[in-house]
Amino acid sequence: MSLLKLEGVTVAFGGLLAVSNFDLTVEDKELIGLIGPNGAGKTTVFNVITGFHIPIKGNITFNNIDITGKSPSYIAKLGISRTFQNIRLFSNLSVMENVMIAAQLHYNIPYFHTFFRTSLFYKVEKTIEEKALKSLELVGLEKVRDEIAKNLPYGDQRKLEIARAIATEPRLILLDEPAAGMNPKETDELMEMIKFLRDELNLTIILIEHDMRVVMNICERVIVLNYGEIIAEGTPDEIKTKPEVLEAYLGSTVVG
């Protein structure tokens, strides 16, 4: 049974079809790359999966539950988490708080316990904190846990976003250009980490990336998007040679 299924999903902004008739089936534990030129609609696909855009047509099912048009928080609770292309951290809060906000997703504590500080409150706080710390350790940020998020170097901010996404205990994680702005060494670490997430934490991953080194090295399946439509799909090696892909990236050959 597939984990995520998009059928004929169409998203329009006014008259512009950002994504049209998009079909995608994602199996459990897959690692998929989504590539395409700027403005191809890659981020829109992420936004429609996570509930930030409502499709005008089509269906999205996750884990056999219809999530078309559901609210982002509901979808996050079901187990889809994401990072953002332009980093969206809670900049004035500490690294730990950033992750704790995500880690508390599955722990609802009634206001009564909060205001009267019952022992249950401390127990739940502790569990949240431990879980948050675990996510921070995964990306190697546990040493800067009390730092304010906006003071972190750029690479660490990206890592923190990933830690925050993991902390919600998702089954599917959507990474929007995780390697953007990273140097080659950081990119290598990132690739290791993404593999780790899939192999050890059994996560299913879809990632958008412009860095072809990342896409070609770790993705098992690559989907190429242009003008909101899938123009090619296959293993990294297949993709490299497809004429449609070359055309989208480099332009068509001049005839005559």
């Binding site: 930030f52 609770k77 900049s91 809060l93 704790m100 906000i101 997703l105 504590i109 949240i128």
Partner: protein
């Protein structure tokens, strides 16, 4: 932190005893000073509660005077006509203000920034106009003869409650969720925070305490008039929280006290400069401008309201 919190009940009882003792002595001091101390307390309640909406949750509300009016009128109505015990009347005033906060919050909290500010400002004005025309509470003639129940004890008991509850809220999962809405609403939603629910909660929380503060105010002055609850009253509280540092509970409380005392201290300015015109409000405004120039994040605030790009 947790260890300190475990002793909170002891601290609380300790505070209670102190307030009770001061309450016995205080009425013997100069009634002018006494009044300033009472108003400082009421302003702390107003500022700390508005801080939850504006400073912690980042929702720009200008309707605080409206909530205060609801609490003031409703609690006075209960004590005047039905002889309801004072604490119950205070709570009832707060609850009604909270309910109105809920009713206003559900439709308006979809709005952001300036739009929300205008909507809440309109709500405050509507409440004022309704009070102007409600004959049972005096309408435009005002509401005289409210029993004098407010004492130092009641004011500072409420101050203690509002400080403890805001602090408990801040350092909790719900508090973090509220902060995350202020920081980045989209990321907050992506992390599973039901932003609408928490925004409404922050709104109700703020409205409730504003209502209680209104009740304290009414039972101190013993007279209410709708014109006391204009938009300027909301701005006054807003100035307190911006000066104290949006989001900082202690900063906001300190600035509430400071801004209550400052205009009174400035009464001496007239004597000092030996002028016939009163330079009080000029100096007051200048001081505000200077503080904002020198410390734009407020006296104790670390967080500066960022200009939202959307």
């Amino acid at each position: 932190m947790e260890n300190l919190e475990r002793f909170r009940y002891i601290f609380f009882i300790f505070g209670l005893v102190i307030i009770y003792l001061v309450n016995i002595i205080l009425p013997y001091i100069n009634p002018y000073y006494f009044q300033i101390i009472i108003f400082a307390g009421i302003n702390i309640v107003l500022a700390v509660s508005l801080n939850v909406i504006n400073g912690l949750c980042g929702q720009f509300s200008l309707g605080h005077a409206g909530f205060m009016a609801v609490g003031a009128y409703f609690s006075s109505f209960l004590t005047f006509y039905y002889k309801v015990p004072f604490p119950l009347a205070l709570i009832a005033g707060g609850v009604l203000a909270g309910l109105i906060g809920l009713g206003v919050g559900v439709p308006t909290l979809r709005l952001r920034g300036d739009y929300l500010a205008i909507a809440t400002l309109g709500m405050g004005e509507i409440i004022r106009v309704i009070l102007f025309n409600l004959d049972i509470v005096g309408g435009a003639r005002g509401f005289p003869g409210i029993p004098k129940y407010t004492s130092f004890f009641w004011v500072y008991l409420v101050v203690m409650f509002v400080l403890v509850s805001s602090y408990s809220l801040l350092k909790s999962p719900q508090g973090r969720a509220i902060l995350s809405i202020r920081e980045d609403e989209i990321a907050s939603e992506a992390m599973g925070v039901n932003t609408t629910r928490f925004k409404i909660f922050a709104f109700i929380f703020g409205a409730f305490w504003a209502g209680v503060a209104g009740g304290l105010w009414a039972h101190y002055l013993q007279f209410l008039h709708p014109s006391s609850f204009t938009f300027m009253k909301s701005v006054e509280v807003l100035v307190m929280i911006v000066l104290g540092g949006l989001g900082s509970i202690s900063g906001v409380a300190i600035s509430a006290v400071f801004l209550t005392i400052l205009p009174e201290l400035l009464r001496y300015a007239k004597v000092l400069f030996n002028t016939t015109v009163d330079p009080r409000m000029v100096i007051y405004s200048l001081l505000l401008i200077l503080t904002m120039l020198l410390r734009p994040q407020g006296l104790l605030g670390g967080y500066r309201r960022k200009v939202k790009e959307q």
